[in-house]
């Protein structure tokens, strides 16, 4: 089994495989607490490909979007730490979502 944060992307339609070679590999994302009321999430692909431009959302328990953005050139996204419980969604393609619970994000 893949660990929770590793989402297999191997079953995409052939056109998608042709369109983006990186997507033939697994998308991976993880986040850590910077200890200064900010959170940094990092993403990438198992072949070392960049995740720049991949959308990332931060939602509260009710599903309300608190922060929304995209991975930067360094495949990172930093946001202010919400005051409430939240989850991070790293959206590497339809049906291939990595979700990270705030309780799993440590310094």
């Amino acid at each position: 089994m893949f660990p929770r944060r590793l989402i297999p992307i191997a079953l995409l339609p052939p056109l998608a495989l042709l369109a983006n070679v990186a997507w033939t590999h697994n998308a991976i994302c993880d986040c850590y607490d910077n200890g200064n009321d900010t959170i940094t999430c990092e993403g990438g692909f198992s072949d070392g490909g960049k995740a720049d431009g991949v959308p990332l959302r931060v939602l509260d328990g009710a599903g309300k979007v608190l922060v929304e953005g995209h991975m930067n050139d360094n495949s990172e996204f930093t946001f202010a730490k919400p005051k409430v419980d939240y989850r991070v969604e790293f959206d590497a393609g339809e049906g291939h979502l990595t979700v990270i619970d705030s309780r799993d994000i440590k310094e």
Binding site: P3, D30, Y32, G48, N74, S75
Partner: protein, 281 residues
């Protein structure tokens, strides 16, 4: 001859034979951590021990390392170097033959290894005086760890005076596969380099500061304790990985007639490679 005299003579002969015999096992600088491929980021415990890994032989005294750091890198991002000297904790490590050697543990905080990607730990130990050969040995050692499965610069040289550069990910190897690497000195491949390979047969037990007393395998003959091979004409070595665990590769005496305190200094390059069982769960 009395019984006592004959025993003494026998012991003397044995001692002489032991001294005259070539070393059957090799010195290896360990830069050990339990797992080279972490699913998620974690604080990594490290043990720096200078020993004979196959047969839990004599553990030698390490001086304070000249350098100890980690180069981390993820995907196409810029590499980052973190000095680890501040985390060195001097300890005494129990080896075989009743030996106790000065060694080091290091427990860098999770923040050092919390990013995804490759971490190449580098140790430049203090030269070790080998009285048996009246020379110094310095084994510049690399251990590569990956966090989360996003690869980094595992296949790039770090610009060390001597180093073994992987051609296969050193942290992602099935038992039964092969591992390839190139021996470099001054950034250039070393044709036909003399290389030794040893299996870390006695698992390090960091909490007890010793190796597990029982080995995992036995050698059918002395030649199997340290496997001696040569790089090919392009400086490339290929080794098999028949058993799960850590395998050490050491390329010997790669320097250009270096000296230390008026004596010969052999500058060696060590790389550690971990193999995992294909049926492991």
């Amino acid at each position: 001859m009395t019984s006592r005299n004959s025993r003494a003579a026998a012991c003397g002969a044995l001692l002489a034979a032991l001294i005259a015999a070539p070393a059957a096992d090799a010195h290896f600088q360990l830069l050990y951590t339990p797992d080279a491929a972490l699913k998620e980021s974690a604080a990594l415990p490290l043990a720096l021990v200078f020993s004979h890994p196959f047969d839990n032989g004599f553990t030698m005294n390490m001086g304070k390392p000249e350098a100890f750091y980690v180069v981390s890198q993820r995907g196409e991002a810029e590499p980052r170097t973190t000095d680890l000297m501040q985390y060195l904790q001097p300890i005494e490590w129990a080896g075989g033959e009743g030996s106790k050697g000065a060694a080091y543990l290091a427990n860098p905080p999770r923040s050092v290894t919390r990013s995804l990607g490759d971490y190449t730990f580098v140790l430049k130990p203090a030269p070790y005086y080998e009285a048996g050969e009246d020379k110094y040995i310095q084994q510049i050692t690399k251990t590569v760890v990956n966090v989360g499965g996003i690869p980094g610069d595992w296949d790039k040289p770090l610009g060390l005076p001597v180093e073994i550069v992987p051609l296969d990910k050193p942290y992602a190897n099935w038992v039964g596969g092969v591992f390839r690497a190139v021996v470099l000195s001054g950034g250039k491949p070393v044709p036909h380099a003399e290389v030794e390979v040893e299996y870390l047969n006695h698992e390090p037990q960091l909490d007890q500061r010793r190796f597990a007393p029982e080995g995992k395998v036995t050698a059918p003959q002395q030649s199997f304790v340290t496997l001696s091979i040569r790089a090919d004409a392009n400086g490339q070595v290929i080794i098999g990985l028949p058993k799960a665990g850590w395998w050490g590769i050491c390329a010997l005496d790669l320097d250009d007639d270096e000296q230390h305190q008026g004596k010969e200094l052999s500058v060696d390059a060590v790389l550690w490679v971990q193999a995992k069982d294909i049926n492991a769960r």
